[in-house]
Symmetry: C2
Protein backbone atom coordinates (compact mmCIF):
# COMPACT_ATOMS: atom_id res chain seq x y z
CA UNK A 1 0.00 0.00 0.00
CA UNK A 2 1.27 3.47 -0.86
CA UNK A 3 -0.05 4.95 2.42
CA UNK A 4 1.52 4.49 5.85
CA UNK A 5 0.27 5.41 9.34
CA UNK A 6 2.86 6.51 11.87
CA UNK A 7 3.02 6.22 15.66
CA UNK A 8 4.78 8.69 17.88
CA UNK A 9 6.29 11.01 15.26
CA UNK A 10 6.23 14.78 15.72
CA UNK A 11 7.56 18.00 14.21
CA UNK A 12 9.36 19.94 16.91
CA UNK A 13 10.79 23.01 15.24
CA UNK A 14 12.03 24.61 12.03
CA UNK A 15 14.48 27.33 10.98
CA UNK A 16 14.46 29.29 7.73
CA UNK A 17 16.39 31.82 5.71
CA UNK A 18 14.75 33.49 2.71
CA UNK A 19 16.04 35.56 -0.21
CA UNK A 20 15.67 39.32 -0.72
CA UNK A 21 12.66 39.06 -3.07
CA UNK A 22 10.93 36.58 -0.74
CA UNK A 23 11.52 39.02 2.14
CA UNK A 24 9.50 41.64 0.24
CA UNK A 25 6.71 39.20 -0.58
CA UNK A 26 3.78 37.65 1.28
CA UNK A 27 5.65 35.60 3.92
CA UNK A 28 5.51 36.93 7.47
CA UNK A 29 6.99 34.22 9.74
CA UNK A 30 10.58 33.28 8.94
CA UNK A 31 13.89 33.53 10.74
CA UNK A 32 16.41 35.30 8.53
CA UNK A 33 16.43 37.31 5.27
CA UNK A 34 19.43 37.48 2.94
CA UNK A 35 20.40 40.98 1.85
CA UNK A 36 21.84 39.73 -1.46
CA UNK A 37 22.12 36.57 -3.55
CA UNK A 38 25.82 35.94 -2.81
CA UNK A 39 25.25 35.89 0.98
CA UNK A 40 28.92 36.71 1.58
CA UNK A 41 30.22 33.90 -0.67
CA UNK A 42 32.01 33.96 -4.02
CA UNK A 43 29.45 31.96 -6.02
CA UNK A 44 25.69 31.37 -5.87
CA UNK A 45 26.25 27.63 -5.29
CA UNK A 46 28.42 28.40 -2.29
CA UNK A 47 25.76 30.87 -1.10
CA UNK A 48 23.16 28.08 -1.17
CA UNK A 49 25.49 25.76 0.79
CA UNK A 50 25.86 28.55 3.37
CA UNK A 51 22.07 29.00 3.53
CA UNK A 52 21.73 25.31 4.43
CA UNK A 53 24.56 25.54 6.95
CA UNK A 54 22.93 28.50 8.69
CA UNK A 55 19.48 26.91 8.99
CA UNK A 56 20.92 23.64 10.28
CA UNK A 57 23.34 25.23 12.80
CA UNK A 58 20.62 27.56 14.09
CA UNK A 59 18.05 24.78 14.44
CA UNK A 60 20.50 22.72 16.51
CA UNK A 61 21.43 25.72 18.69
CA UNK A 62 17.82 26.77 19.24
CA UNK A 63 16.94 23.25 20.38
CA UNK A 64 20.16 22.75 22.38
CA UNK A 65 20.94 19.66 20.32
CA UNK A 66 24.56 18.68 19.85
CA UNK A 67 25.40 17.09 16.48
CA UNK A 68 25.79 13.64 18.04
CA UNK A 69 22.19 13.79 19.29
CA UNK A 70 20.87 13.95 15.73
CA UNK A 71 20.52 10.40 14.39
CA UNK A 72 20.20 11.32 10.73
CA UNK A 73 20.26 14.37 8.47
CA UNK A 74 18.06 13.85 5.40
CA UNK A 75 18.75 16.39 2.66
CA UNK A 76 17.88 17.18 -0.91
CA UNK A 77 17.86 20.09 -3.33
CA UNK A 78 17.61 20.84 -7.06
CA UNK A 79 21.28 21.14 -7.95
CA UNK A 80 22.98 18.31 -9.87
CA UNK A 81 23.98 15.40 -7.62
CA UNK A 82 22.02 17.14 -4.81
CA UNK A 83 25.44 18.61 -4.19
CA UNK A 84 24.27 21.58 -2.08
CA UNK A 85 22.90 19.19 0.57
CA UNK A 86 25.92 16.85 0.38
CA UNK A 87 28.48 19.65 0.70
CA UNK A 88 26.52 21.10 3.61
CA UNK A 89 26.30 17.65 5.25
CA UNK A 90 30.11 17.42 5.18
CA UNK A 91 30.24 20.42 7.56
CA UNK A 92 28.38 18.50 10.29
CA UNK A 93 29.20 15.33 12.21
CA UNK A 94 25.79 13.76 11.48
CA UNK A 95 24.94 10.59 9.45
CA UNK A 96 23.53 11.75 6.12
CA UNK A 97 21.03 10.41 3.59
CA UNK A 98 20.55 12.24 0.27
CA UNK A 99 17.18 12.11 -1.47
CA UNK A 100 15.80 13.48 -4.74
CA UNK A 101 12.20 14.14 -5.70
CA UNK A 102 12.70 17.57 -7.29
CA UNK A 103 10.24 19.95 -5.59
CA UNK A 104 8.54 16.99 -3.83
CA UNK A 105 11.73 16.46 -1.82
CA UNK A 106 10.40 17.92 1.45
CA UNK A 107 7.58 15.41 1.89
CA UNK A 108 9.86 12.52 0.83
CA UNK A 109 12.19 13.64 3.63
CA UNK A 110 9.31 13.77 6.17
CA UNK A 111 8.13 10.29 5.09
CA UNK A 112 11.59 8.74 5.50
CA UNK A 113 12.21 10.53 8.80
CA UNK A 114 8.81 9.39 10.09
CA UNK A 115 9.47 5.78 8.98
CA UNK A 116 12.76 5.66 10.88
CA UNK A 117 11.25 7.20 14.04
CA UNK A 118 8.08 5.05 13.81
CA UNK A 119 10.27 1.90 13.62
CA UNK A 120 12.24 3.15 16.69
CA UNK A 121 15.41 3.31 14.60
CA UNK A 122 15.92 7.03 15.36
CA UNK A 123 14.83 9.70 17.85
CA UNK A 124 15.86 13.01 16.29
CA UNK A 125 16.09 13.60 12.55
CA UNK A 126 16.65 16.86 10.70
CA UNK A 127 15.15 17.26 7.23
CA UNK A 128 16.72 20.04 5.16
CA UNK A 129 16.00 21.50 1.74
CA UNK A 130 16.80 24.63 -0.24
CA UNK A 131 16.70 26.31 -3.59
CA UNK A 132 18.36 29.44 -5.00
CA UNK A 133 16.74 31.16 -7.97
CA UNK A 134 19.98 31.94 -9.76
CA UNK A 135 21.37 28.42 -9.36
CA UNK A 136 18.17 26.85 -10.68
CA UNK A 137 17.96 29.29 -13.61
CA UNK A 138 21.59 28.66 -14.59
CA UNK A 139 21.21 24.89 -14.38
CA UNK A 140 17.71 24.24 -15.77
CA UNK A 141 17.11 27.27 -18.03
CA UNK A 142 19.57 30.08 -18.79
CA UNK A 143 21.81 32.22 -16.59
CA UNK A 144 19.58 35.26 -15.84
CA UNK A 145 22.13 37.62 -17.44
CA UNK A 146 21.04 36.24 -20.85
CA UNK A 147 17.64 37.90 -20.38
CA UNK A 148 15.69 34.99 -21.91
CA UNK A 149 12.00 35.68 -22.47
CA UNK A 150 9.70 33.75 -20.11
CA UNK A 151 6.43 31.96 -20.84
CA UNK A 152 3.45 32.82 -18.64
CA UNK A 153 3.31 29.17 -17.47
CA UNK A 154 6.85 29.38 -16.03
CA UNK A 155 7.25 29.37 -12.26
CA UNK A 156 9.91 31.25 -10.32
CA UNK A 157 12.30 29.23 -8.13
CA UNK A 158 12.19 30.47 -4.53
CA UNK A 159 15.45 31.44 -2.84
CA UNK A 160 15.36 29.97 0.67
CA UNK A 161 16.56 27.15 2.91
CA UNK A 162 14.58 25.49 5.69
CA UNK A 163 15.43 22.84 8.27
CA UNK A 164 12.86 20.83 10.24
CA UNK A 165 13.40 18.84 13.43
CA UNK A 166 11.36 15.62 13.58
CA UNK A 167 11.32 13.69 16.86
CA UNK A 168 9.67 10.92 18.87
CA UNK A 169 9.01 13.48 21.63
CA UNK A 170 5.41 14.68 21.78
CA UNK A 171 4.83 18.20 20.45
CA UNK A 172 1.69 19.91 19.14
CA UNK A 173 2.31 18.83 15.50
CA UNK A 174 1.90 15.12 14.87
CA UNK A 175 2.95 13.45 11.58
CA UNK A 176 -0.01 11.12 11.37
CA UNK A 177 0.24 9.34 8.02
CA UNK A 178 1.65 9.67 4.52
CA UNK A 179 1.27 8.50 0.94
CA UNK A 180 4.25 7.82 -1.32
CA UNK A 181 3.45 8.99 -4.85
CA UNK A 182 4.02 7.36 -8.21
CA UNK A 183 6.05 8.93 -11.01
CA UNK A 184 3.43 9.84 -13.62
CA UNK A 185 4.28 10.73 -17.21
CA UNK A 186 1.42 12.35 -19.16
CA UNK A 187 3.60 12.95 -22.21
CA UNK A 188 4.19 16.65 -21.50
CA UNK A 189 7.72 17.65 -22.56
CA UNK A 190 7.51 21.42 -21.95
CA UNK A 191 9.86 22.24 -19.06
CA UNK A 192 8.27 25.69 -18.85
CA UNK A 193 4.94 24.20 -17.81
CA UNK A 194 5.79 22.24 -14.69
CA UNK A 195 2.34 22.89 -13.20
CA UNK A 196 0.79 20.76 -15.96
CA UNK A 197 3.43 18.03 -15.44
CA UNK A 198 2.80 17.86 -11.68
CA UNK A 199 -0.99 18.37 -11.41
CA UNK A 200 -1.94 14.78 -12.47
CA UNK A 201 0.57 13.32 -9.99
CA UNK A 202 -0.82 15.49 -7.17
CA UNK A 203 -4.39 14.40 -7.99
CA UNK A 204 -3.38 10.72 -8.13
CA UNK A 205 -1.59 10.94 -4.76
CA UNK A 206 -4.50 12.74 -3.08
CA UNK A 207 -6.98 10.20 -4.42
CA UNK A 208 -4.75 7.25 -3.37
CA UNK A 209 -4.37 8.76 0.11
CA UNK A 210 -8.12 9.12 0.60
CA UNK A 211 -8.86 5.63 -0.79
CA UNK A 212 -6.10 3.86 1.18
CA UNK A 213 -7.11 5.48 4.47
CA UNK A 214 -10.86 5.45 3.72
CA UNK A 215 -11.22 9.20 4.24
CA UNK A 216 -13.43 11.71 2.51
CA UNK A 217 -11.94 15.01 1.37
CA UNK A 218 -13.83 16.73 4.22
CA UNK A 219 -11.62 14.91 6.72
CA UNK A 220 -9.01 17.64 6.14
CA UNK A 221 -9.32 21.24 7.28
CA UNK A 222 -6.82 22.19 4.60
CA UNK A 223 -4.98 20.62 1.66
CA UNK A 224 -1.79 22.41 0.53
CA UNK A 225 0.02 21.52 -2.66
CA UNK A 226 3.68 22.46 -3.16
CA UNK A 227 4.32 24.54 -6.22
CA UNK A 228 1.71 23.92 -8.90
CA UNK A 229 1.44 27.68 -9.43
CA UNK A 230 -1.52 29.62 -10.77
CA UNK A 231 -1.99 27.44 -13.85
CA UNK A 232 -1.16 24.04 -12.35
CA UNK A 233 -3.50 24.74 -9.44
CA UNK A 234 -6.50 25.11 -11.74
CA UNK A 235 -5.52 21.96 -13.65
CA UNK A 236 -5.20 20.03 -10.36
CA UNK A 237 -8.72 21.02 -9.28
CA UNK A 238 -10.04 20.09 -12.71
CA UNK A 239 -8.33 16.65 -12.77
CA UNK A 240 -9.54 15.96 -9.22
CA UNK A 241 -13.08 16.80 -10.21
CA UNK A 242 -13.23 15.08 -13.59
CA UNK A 243 -11.14 11.96 -12.95
CA UNK A 244 -11.80 11.29 -9.28
CA UNK A 245 -15.04 13.14 -8.56
CA UNK A 246 -13.33 15.02 -5.72
CA UNK A 247 -14.52 18.56 -5.13
CA UNK A 248 -11.70 20.21 -3.19
CA UNK A 249 -12.62 23.50 -1.47
CA UNK A 250 -10.37 23.98 1.55
CA UNK A 251 -7.24 24.32 -0.51
CA UNK A 252 -4.13 26.42 -1.01
CA UNK A 253 -1.11 26.08 -3.32
CA UNK A 254 2.12 27.22 -1.66
CA UNK A 255 3.39 28.49 -5.02
CA UNK A 256 0.64 31.13 -4.98
CA UNK A 257 1.34 32.32 -1.40
CA UNK A 258 4.92 33.59 -1.59
CA UNK A 259 5.05 36.52 -4.03
CA UNK A 260 2.76 39.53 -4.49
CA UNK A 261 1.19 40.11 -7.91
CA UNK A 262 3.44 43.11 -8.35
CA UNK A 263 6.55 40.93 -8.05
CA UNK A 264 6.20 39.56 -11.62
CA UNK A 265 6.98 35.93 -10.96
CA UNK A 266 4.89 34.55 -13.85
CA UNK A 267 2.80 31.57 -12.62
CA UNK A 268 4.09 31.81 -9.04
CA UNK A 269 6.74 30.30 -6.76
CA UNK A 270 8.38 26.90 -7.12
CA UNK A 271 11.18 24.90 -5.51
CA UNK A 272 11.26 22.28 -2.76
CA UNK A 273 11.29 24.92 -0.03
CA UNK A 274 8.07 26.69 -1.13
CA UNK A 275 5.73 24.26 0.65
CA UNK A 276 7.45 24.15 4.06
CA UNK A 277 7.85 27.97 4.06
CA UNK A 278 4.11 28.45 3.60
CA UNK A 279 3.28 25.56 5.95
CA UNK A 280 5.16 27.07 8.89
CA UNK A 281 4.28 30.67 8.04
CA UNK A 282 0.70 30.90 6.91
CA UNK A 283 -0.75 27.56 8.01
CA UNK A 284 0.72 26.41 11.32
CA UNK A 285 1.26 29.88 12.78
CA UNK A 286 -2.39 30.80 12.09
CA UNK A 287 -3.61 28.03 14.44
CA UNK A 288 -6.77 27.83 12.28
CA UNK A 289 -6.32 24.28 11.01
CA UNK A 290 -6.23 20.97 12.90
CA UNK A 291 -5.99 18.40 10.15
CA UNK A 292 -3.71 19.37 7.29
CA UNK A 293 -2.63 17.39 4.24
CA UNK A 294 0.54 18.66 2.58
CA UNK A 295 1.27 17.43 -0.95
CA UNK A 296 4.67 18.48 -2.28
CA UNK A 297 4.90 18.23 -6.07
CA UNK A 298 7.94 17.62 -8.27
CA UNK A 299 8.76 17.71 -11.98
CA UNK A 300 11.43 15.03 -12.47
CA UNK A 301 13.09 16.44 -15.58
CA UNK A 302 16.77 16.60 -16.46
CA UNK A 303 17.95 19.03 -19.13
CA UNK A 304 19.51 16.10 -21.03
CA UNK A 305 16.27 14.09 -21.26
CA UNK A 306 14.15 17.22 -21.82
CA UNK A 307 16.32 17.94 -24.89
CA UNK A 308 15.49 14.43 -26.12
CA UNK A 309 11.80 15.47 -26.08
CA UNK A 310 10.63 12.63 -23.82
CA UNK A 311 7.55 13.17 -21.67
CA UNK A 312 8.54 14.42 -18.20
CA UNK A 313 7.33 12.45 -15.14
CA UNK A 314 5.72 14.34 -12.27
CA UNK A 315 5.55 13.08 -8.69
CA UNK A 316 3.77 14.09 -5.46
CA UNK A 317 4.14 12.74 -1.93
CA UNK A 318 1.50 13.53 0.72
CA UNK A 319 1.92 13.88 4.50
CA UNK A 320 -0.97 14.25 6.97
CA UNK A 321 -0.32 16.53 9.94
CA UNK A 322 -2.46 16.88 13.06
CA UNK A 323 -2.23 19.96 15.22
CA UNK A 324 -2.93 18.88 18.79
CA UNK B 1 23.20 6.42 16.76
CA UNK B 2 24.34 5.92 13.16
CA UNK B 3 23.78 2.13 13.34
CA UNK B 4 20.41 0.35 13.25
CA UNK B 5 19.45 -3.29 13.87
CA UNK B 6 16.60 -4.70 11.81
CA UNK B 7 14.04 -7.42 12.51
CA UNK B 8 12.49 -9.60 9.85
CA UNK B 9 14.09 -8.09 6.73
CA UNK B 10 15.40 -10.32 3.95
CA UNK B 11 16.77 -10.18 0.42
CA UNK B 12 14.70 -12.47 -1.77
CA UNK B 13 16.05 -12.09 -5.28
CA UNK B 14 17.86 -9.90 -7.77
CA UNK B 15 18.02 -9.41 -11.54
CA UNK B 16 20.87 -7.87 -13.54
CA UNK B 17 21.86 -6.75 -17.00
CA UNK B 18 25.51 -5.94 -17.73
CA UNK B 19 27.31 -4.16 -20.58
CA UNK B 20 29.44 -5.76 -23.32
CA UNK B 21 32.79 -5.06 -21.62
CA UNK B 22 31.49 -6.37 -18.29
CA UNK B 23 30.30 -9.52 -20.08
CA UNK B 24 33.91 -10.17 -21.13
CA UNK B 25 35.28 -9.51 -17.64
CA UNK B 26 35.45 -11.40 -14.35
CA UNK B 27 31.71 -11.65 -13.52
CA UNK B 28 30.15 -15.10 -13.89
CA UNK B 29 26.63 -14.90 -12.39
CA UNK B 30 24.34 -12.33 -14.03
CA UNK B 31 21.11 -12.48 -15.99
CA UNK B 32 21.54 -10.60 -19.27
CA UNK B 33 24.38 -9.08 -21.30
CA UNK B 34 23.89 -6.13 -23.68
CA UNK B 35 25.36 -6.59 -27.13
CA UNK B 36 25.96 -2.86 -27.58
CA UNK B 37 25.76 0.42 -25.64
CA UNK B 38 22.57 1.68 -27.33
CA UNK B 39 20.58 -1.45 -26.36
CA UNK B 40 18.09 -0.78 -29.18
CA UNK B 41 17.47 2.86 -28.17
CA UNK B 42 18.37 6.15 -29.83
CA UNK B 43 20.49 7.60 -27.02
CA UNK B 44 22.66 6.23 -24.23
CA UNK B 45 20.40 7.83 -21.61
CA UNK B 46 17.39 6.03 -23.07
CA UNK B 47 19.46 2.82 -23.15
CA UNK B 48 20.08 3.17 -19.40
CA UNK B 49 16.36 3.74 -18.75
CA UNK B 50 15.66 0.55 -20.73
CA UNK B 51 18.27 -1.35 -18.70
CA UNK B 52 16.42 -0.37 -15.50
CA UNK B 53 13.07 -1.27 -17.05
CA UNK B 54 14.29 -4.73 -18.05
CA UNK B 55 15.74 -5.59 -14.64
CA UNK B 56 12.62 -4.40 -12.83
CA UNK B 57 10.11 -6.11 -15.15
CA UNK B 58 12.07 -9.38 -15.05
CA UNK B 59 12.43 -9.33 -11.27
CA UNK B 60 8.67 -8.92 -10.88
CA UNK B 61 7.93 -11.68 -13.42
CA UNK B 62 10.41 -14.10 -11.90
CA UNK B 63 8.85 -13.61 -8.48
CA UNK B 64 5.25 -13.59 -9.78
CA UNK B 65 4.76 -10.16 -8.20
CA UNK B 66 2.23 -7.83 -9.77
CA UNK B 67 3.10 -4.11 -9.59
CA UNK B 68 0.45 -3.48 -6.95
CA UNK B 69 2.13 -5.99 -4.61
CA UNK B 70 5.28 -3.87 -4.49
CA UNK B 71 4.89 -1.26 -1.76
CA UNK B 72 7.74 0.98 -2.83
CA UNK B 73 10.37 1.25 -5.56
CA UNK B 74 13.54 2.95 -4.28
CA UNK B 75 15.81 4.10 -7.08
CA UNK B 76 18.93 6.10 -7.72
CA UNK B 77 21.66 6.54 -10.31
CA UNK B 78 24.45 8.94 -11.30
CA UNK B 79 22.68 10.99 -13.95
CA UNK B 80 21.57 14.56 -13.13
CA UNK B 81 18.28 14.69 -11.18
CA UNK B 82 18.58 10.86 -10.84
CA UNK B 83 16.52 11.05 -14.01
CA UNK B 84 17.23 7.50 -15.22
CA UNK B 85 15.51 6.08 -12.13
CA UNK B 86 12.64 8.60 -12.25
CA UNK B 87 11.88 8.05 -15.92
CA UNK B 88 11.99 4.28 -15.38
CA UNK B 89 9.69 4.62 -12.35
CA UNK B 90 7.09 6.36 -14.53
CA UNK B 91 6.76 3.13 -16.55
CA UNK B 92 5.53 1.19 -13.49
CA UNK B 93 2.51 1.61 -11.26
CA UNK B 94 4.57 1.51 -8.05
CA UNK B 95 5.07 4.27 -5.42
CA UNK B 96 8.56 5.68 -5.95
CA UNK B 97 11.24 7.25 -3.77
CA UNK B 98 14.38 8.70 -5.39
CA UNK B 99 17.65 8.74 -3.47
CA UNK B 100 21.17 10.01 -4.16
CA UNK B 101 24.43 8.93 -2.59
CA UNK B 102 26.50 8.67 -5.80
CA UNK B 103 28.09 5.21 -5.82
CA UNK B 104 26.91 4.59 -2.22
CA UNK B 105 23.31 4.61 -3.48
CA UNK B 106 22.76 0.84 -3.27
CA UNK B 107 23.34 0.57 0.48
CA UNK B 108 21.28 3.75 1.11
CA UNK B 109 18.45 2.00 -0.74
CA UNK B 110 18.86 -1.20 1.33
CA UNK B 111 18.87 0.84 4.57
CA UNK B 112 15.67 2.71 3.69
CA UNK B 113 13.94 -0.45 2.43
CA UNK B 114 14.93 -2.28 5.62
CA UNK B 115 13.71 0.59 7.81
CA UNK B 116 10.26 0.56 6.16
CA UNK B 117 9.96 -3.25 6.40
CA UNK B 118 11.33 -3.34 9.98
CA UNK B 119 8.68 -0.77 11.01
CA UNK B 120 5.98 -2.90 9.32
CA UNK B 121 5.23 -0.07 6.88
CA UNK B 122 5.96 -2.25 3.83
CA UNK B 123 6.25 -5.92 2.86
CA UNK B 124 7.89 -5.91 -0.58
CA UNK B 125 10.31 -3.24 -1.75
CA UNK B 126 12.43 -3.18 -4.89
CA UNK B 127 15.74 -1.32 -4.81
CA UNK B 128 17.13 -0.42 -8.23
CA UNK B 129 20.33 1.18 -9.44
CA UNK B 130 22.31 1.50 -12.65
CA UNK B 131 25.17 3.22 -14.40
CA UNK B 132 26.22 3.46 -18.04
CA UNK B 133 29.84 4.23 -18.82
CA UNK B 134 29.12 6.57 -21.72
CA UNK B 135 26.49 8.56 -19.81
CA UNK B 136 28.79 9.01 -16.83
CA UNK B 137 31.76 9.99 -19.03
CA UNK B 138 29.67 12.55 -20.95
CA UNK B 139 28.25 14.07 -17.79
CA UNK B 140 31.16 14.04 -15.35
CA UNK B 141 34.21 14.06 -17.64
CA UNK B 142 34.20 14.28 -21.45
CA UNK B 143 32.25 12.45 -24.15
CA UNK B 144 34.51 9.46 -24.98
CA UNK B 145 34.78 10.61 -28.60
CA UNK B 146 37.05 13.45 -27.40
CA UNK B 147 39.69 10.88 -26.51
CA UNK B 148 40.78 12.68 -23.31
CA UNK B 149 43.86 11.25 -21.62
CA UNK B 150 43.13 9.42 -18.34
CA UNK B 151 45.02 9.52 -15.05
CA UNK B 152 46.01 6.16 -13.52
CA UNK B 153 43.87 6.97 -10.44
CA UNK B 154 40.70 7.22 -12.58
CA UNK B 155 38.09 4.49 -12.22
CA UNK B 156 35.91 3.17 -15.03
CA UNK B 157 32.13 3.45 -14.62
CA UNK B 158 30.48 0.05 -14.94
CA UNK B 159 27.65 -0.37 -17.46
CA UNK B 160 24.92 -2.38 -15.71
CA UNK B 161 21.57 -2.23 -13.94
CA UNK B 162 20.49 -4.38 -11.01
CA UNK B 163 17.22 -4.72 -9.10
CA UNK B 164 16.88 -6.32 -5.66
CA UNK B 165 13.72 -7.58 -3.97
CA UNK B 166 13.65 -6.97 -0.21
CA UNK B 167 10.84 -8.57 1.82
CA UNK B 168 9.55 -9.44 5.28
CA UNK B 169 9.33 -13.06 4.16
CA UNK B 170 12.14 -15.26 5.47
CA UNK B 171 14.81 -16.20 2.93
CA UNK B 172 18.40 -17.33 3.36
CA UNK B 173 19.81 -13.75 3.24
CA UNK B 174 18.96 -11.59 6.24
CA UNK B 175 19.60 -7.83 6.36
CA UNK B 176 20.76 -7.77 9.96
CA UNK B 177 21.92 -4.21 10.63
CA UNK B 178 23.28 -1.09 8.97
CA UNK B 179 25.28 2.07 9.55
CA UNK B 180 24.42 5.37 7.87
CA UNK B 181 27.63 7.17 6.92
CA UNK B 182 28.66 10.80 7.30
CA UNK B 183 29.70 13.03 4.40
CA UNK B 184 33.43 13.50 4.93
CA UNK B 185 35.46 16.19 3.16
CA UNK B 186 39.24 15.71 3.40
CA UNK B 187 39.92 18.67 1.10
CA UNK B 188 40.62 16.55 -2.00
CA UNK B 189 39.33 18.33 -5.12
CA UNK B 190 40.64 15.93 -7.80
CA UNK B 191 37.61 14.27 -9.42
CA UNK B 192 39.96 11.77 -11.07
CA UNK B 193 40.95 10.34 -7.70
CA UNK B 194 37.62 9.24 -6.23
CA UNK B 195 39.28 6.36 -4.37
CA UNK B 196 41.13 8.87 -2.19
CA UNK B 197 37.92 10.90 -1.65
CA UNK B 198 35.94 7.83 -0.53
CA UNK B 199 38.53 5.82 1.45
CA UNK B 200 38.34 7.99 4.64
CA UNK B 201 34.51 7.83 4.59
CA UNK B 202 34.59 4.02 4.22
CA UNK B 203 37.03 3.73 7.14
CA UNK B 204 34.91 6.04 9.33
CA UNK B 205 31.73 4.08 8.57
CA UNK B 206 33.37 0.71 9.25
CA UNK B 207 34.80 1.96 12.54
CA UNK B 208 31.46 3.51 13.58
CA UNK B 209 29.67 0.25 12.71
CA UNK B 210 32.01 -1.85 14.87
CA UNK B 211 31.92 0.64 17.78
CA UNK B 212 28.11 1.12 17.73
CA UNK B 213 27.43 -2.63 17.62
CA UNK B 214 30.38 -3.57 19.85
CA UNK B 215 31.85 -5.96 17.30
CA UNK B 216 35.45 -6.79 16.48
CA UNK B 217 36.53 -6.91 12.84
CA UNK B 218 36.73 -10.72 13.14
CA UNK B 219 32.94 -10.84 13.53
CA UNK B 220 32.68 -10.65 9.72
CA UNK B 221 33.69 -13.42 7.32
CA UNK B 222 34.07 -10.78 4.62
CA UNK B 223 34.00 -6.99 4.24
CA UNK B 224 33.32 -5.69 0.70
CA UNK B 225 33.73 -2.03 -0.25
CA UNK B 226 31.98 -0.62 -3.31
CA UNK B 227 34.32 1.02 -5.77
CA UNK B 228 37.45 2.30 -4.10
CA UNK B 229 39.51 0.76 -6.89
CA UNK B 230 43.12 -0.39 -6.75
CA UNK B 231 44.45 2.85 -5.26
CA UNK B 232 41.54 3.70 -2.93
CA UNK B 233 41.60 0.14 -1.56
CA UNK B 234 45.18 0.50 -0.34
CA UNK B 235 44.40 3.92 1.17
CA UNK B 236 41.36 2.46 2.96
CA UNK B 237 43.44 -0.32 4.55
CA UNK B 238 46.09 2.24 5.56
CA UNK B 239 43.55 4.67 7.13
CA UNK B 240 41.86 1.78 8.96
CA UNK B 241 45.18 0.66 10.37
CA UNK B 242 46.67 4.04 11.25
CA UNK B 243 43.58 5.93 12.44
CA UNK B 244 41.47 3.17 13.96
CA UNK B 245 43.96 0.36 14.65
CA UNK B 246 41.83 -2.03 12.59
CA UNK B 247 43.73 -4.70 10.70
CA UNK B 248 41.33 -5.83 7.97
CA UNK B 249 42.24 -9.13 6.30
CA UNK B 250 39.06 -10.78 4.98
CA UNK B 251 38.41 -8.06 2.46
CA UNK B 252 37.51 -7.43 -1.16
CA UNK B 253 36.78 -4.23 -3.14
CA UNK B 254 34.06 -4.72 -5.76
CA UNK B 255 35.82 -2.24 -8.04
CA UNK B 256 38.72 -4.68 -8.36
CA UNK B 257 36.54 -7.72 -9.14
CA UNK B 258 34.78 -6.74 -12.39
CA UNK B 259 37.42 -6.24 -15.10
CA UNK B 260 40.47 -8.30 -16.06
CA UNK B 261 43.87 -6.60 -16.06
CA UNK B 262 43.88 -6.80 -19.84
CA UNK B 263 40.71 -4.67 -20.04
CA UNK B 264 42.59 -1.38 -19.32
CA UNK B 265 40.17 0.18 -16.90
CA UNK B 266 42.80 2.24 -14.98
CA UNK B 267 42.21 1.87 -11.21
CA UNK B 268 39.21 -0.48 -11.65
CA UNK B 269 35.42 -0.39 -11.78
CA UNK B 270 33.13 2.22 -10.24
CA UNK B 271 29.44 3.12 -10.20
CA UNK B 272 26.58 2.31 -7.79
CA UNK B 273 25.98 -1.07 -9.43
CA UNK B 274 29.54 -2.41 -8.96
CA UNK B 275 28.99 -3.55 -5.36
CA UNK B 276 25.68 -5.43 -5.82
CA UNK B 277 26.99 -7.12 -9.01
CA UNK B 278 29.98 -8.54 -7.11
CA UNK B 279 27.87 -9.28 -4.02
CA UNK B 280 25.43 -11.51 -5.88
CA UNK B 281 28.03 -12.97 -8.24
CA UNK B 282 31.21 -13.69 -6.38
CA UNK B 283 30.12 -13.52 -2.75
CA UNK B 284 26.62 -14.90 -2.26
CA UNK B 285 26.77 -17.49 -5.05
CA UNK B 286 30.01 -18.92 -3.58
CA UNK B 287 28.21 -19.87 -0.34
CA UNK B 288 31.56 -19.41 1.44
CA UNK B 289 30.59 -16.52 3.70
CA UNK B 290 28.00 -16.33 6.50
CA UNK B 291 28.51 -12.83 7.89
CA UNK B 292 29.17 -10.19 5.28
CA UNK B 293 29.52 -6.42 5.66
CA UNK B 294 28.95 -4.46 2.46
CA UNK B 295 30.15 -0.83 2.40
CA UNK B 296 29.14 1.08 -0.73
CA UNK B 297 31.23 4.20 -1.26
CA UNK B 298 30.31 7.44 -3.02
CA UNK B 299 32.09 10.59 -4.17
CA UNK B 300 29.51 13.39 -3.85
CA UNK B 301 30.94 15.78 -6.44
CA UNK B 302 29.09 17.89 -8.98
CA UNK B 303 30.96 19.26 -12.00
CA UNK B 304 29.90 22.79 -11.00
CA UNK B 305 31.36 22.60 -7.49
CA UNK B 306 34.40 20.63 -8.67
CA UNK B 307 35.17 23.54 -11.04
CA UNK B 308 35.00 25.86 -8.02
CA UNK B 309 37.89 23.79 -6.52
CA UNK B 310 36.10 22.96 -3.27
CA UNK B 311 37.06 19.75 -1.45
CA UNK B 312 34.74 16.90 -2.46
CA UNK B 313 32.84 15.02 0.26
CA UNK B 314 32.91 11.22 0.25
CA UNK B 315 30.31 9.00 1.89
CA UNK B 316 29.90 5.30 2.72
CA UNK B 317 26.90 3.38 4.07
CA UNK B 318 27.34 -0.12 5.51
CA UNK B 319 24.86 -3.02 5.58
CA UNK B 320 25.41 -6.28 7.47
CA UNK B 321 24.08 -9.43 5.77
CA UNK B 322 23.71 -12.87 7.32
CA UNK B 323 23.49 -15.96 5.15
CA UNK B 324 21.30 -18.47 6.98
Amino acid sequence: MASKKFNQVYIKDNFSVIGPLEGDGLLKTYDLVMDNYYYGEKTFEQAEIKMQKIVLANLLNKNKLSENKVDVLIGGDLINQTSISSYNASKFNIPYLGVYSACATYTEELILASSLIHGKLAKNIVAITSSHNLNAERQFRYPVEYGAVKKHTTTFTTTAALSTLITNEQTNIKIESATIGKAIDMGISDTNNMGAIMAPAAADTLNTHLMDLKRSINYYDLVITGDLGKIGKELFLEVLNKNYNINLKKYMDAGCEIYTNAQETYAGASGPVALPLVLFDKVLSSKKYKKILIIATGSLQSTQLANQKLGIPGIAHAVSLEVI
